[in-house]
Symmetry: C2
């Protein structure tokens, strides 16, 4: 919709870090007035919904510095430069959980915080999981604890806000919906 | 889990804007090594799943500067300082769509991008909608186009990536699940 467009009048690069960068754009609004937009650039990420051979959901607990607490999330990670999203999903699954999968199915993608960031997360459903003994190591600044939960247990974690992030509540709903479809 | 904790050794405030601020923390990792974390602070937000009297989903299209495109999203907005989340949800629903609601039910909350931001979105389900003639105005830098879609139409929008953000794909799934529960 062209009439909603905001034209860039000027932009400043404020910060460029290891993961994100920050820009401030001066924009012309649809009514001709001016405003500013604060924008975070992010490389994008993948996240994996995966059930173990025992039909449990694979999750990882990790410390999230932005909230100063741990969260229980589906395995996920940033895209590496030039990396294919499917390769990335397989890599993250193995690095974070020690599992490899037979097949990967694309579920959905979404921007996590469209109001201020361009982070796009690609969600996959992995099946045919097997544990690998000598799995690929984690990034050197990553420390995670693997959890395997049944769907009712995961719903309890959502209720208690231990599972409390967008991609993981989406994943739990996706599995609930899958269950509901099966029962039809 | 204490063993996953990252201790703050130092923190620098890099930027403080209208909406977000950016900090860089120097941390001590669980293995004693050092790393840095880039953190975005955000006031938090509310988002509203609402069906019109015609059983259509209320959505708004708006330009998202971070992606340089429009997205179709459920009504949402930032929390104002000290504002109650329910008041905020009612306010945003009215400002963005011109509808007021009889009742609001808390659905869920989630961090949108726990890897780098503390943004927490609270999702509500609004019912008993009525159109208000002289509704509260939008913020002066907000321009939105209201859409009303059936669930199958919304699923088509997801497929075409016109609906492409976390809270809205979550909302669509929530409504699908509600439908599936009803059919039981």
């Amino acid at each position: 919709m062209e009439k909603l467009e905001e034209k860039t009048l000027d932009s400043s690069a404020i910060f460029s870090g290891r993961v994100i960068s920050l820009e401030v754009h001066e924009v012309e609004l649809p009514n001709g007035r001016k405003s500013t937009r604060e924008i975070i650039k992010h490389p994008g990420a993948v996240a994996i919904i995966a059930l173990t051979p025992e039909n449990k959901i694979l999750l990882v607990e990790q410390y999230r510095k932005a909230m100063e607490r741990t969260l229980v999330e589906i395995p996920a990670g940033k895209l590496e430069k030039g990396e294919d999203v499917m390769d990335s999903a397989r890599r993250e699954l193995e690095e974070e959980t020690g599992y490899v999968c037979d097949s990967l199915e694309y579920v959905s993608g979404f921007y996590t915080s469209p109001g201020f960031a361009d982070e796009l997360v690609h969600i996959f459903y992995a099946s045919g999981l097997t544990r690998k003994e000598d799995s690929a190591p984690l990034d050197e600044d990553e420390f995670v604890e693997v959890l395997e939960l049944t769907l009712p247990e995961a719903l309890e974690y959502v209720k208690n806000q231990k599972i409390y992030d967008a991609k993981t509540v989406y994943a739990i709903q996706y599995l609930q919906l899958r269950e509901a479809e099966k029962k039809k």
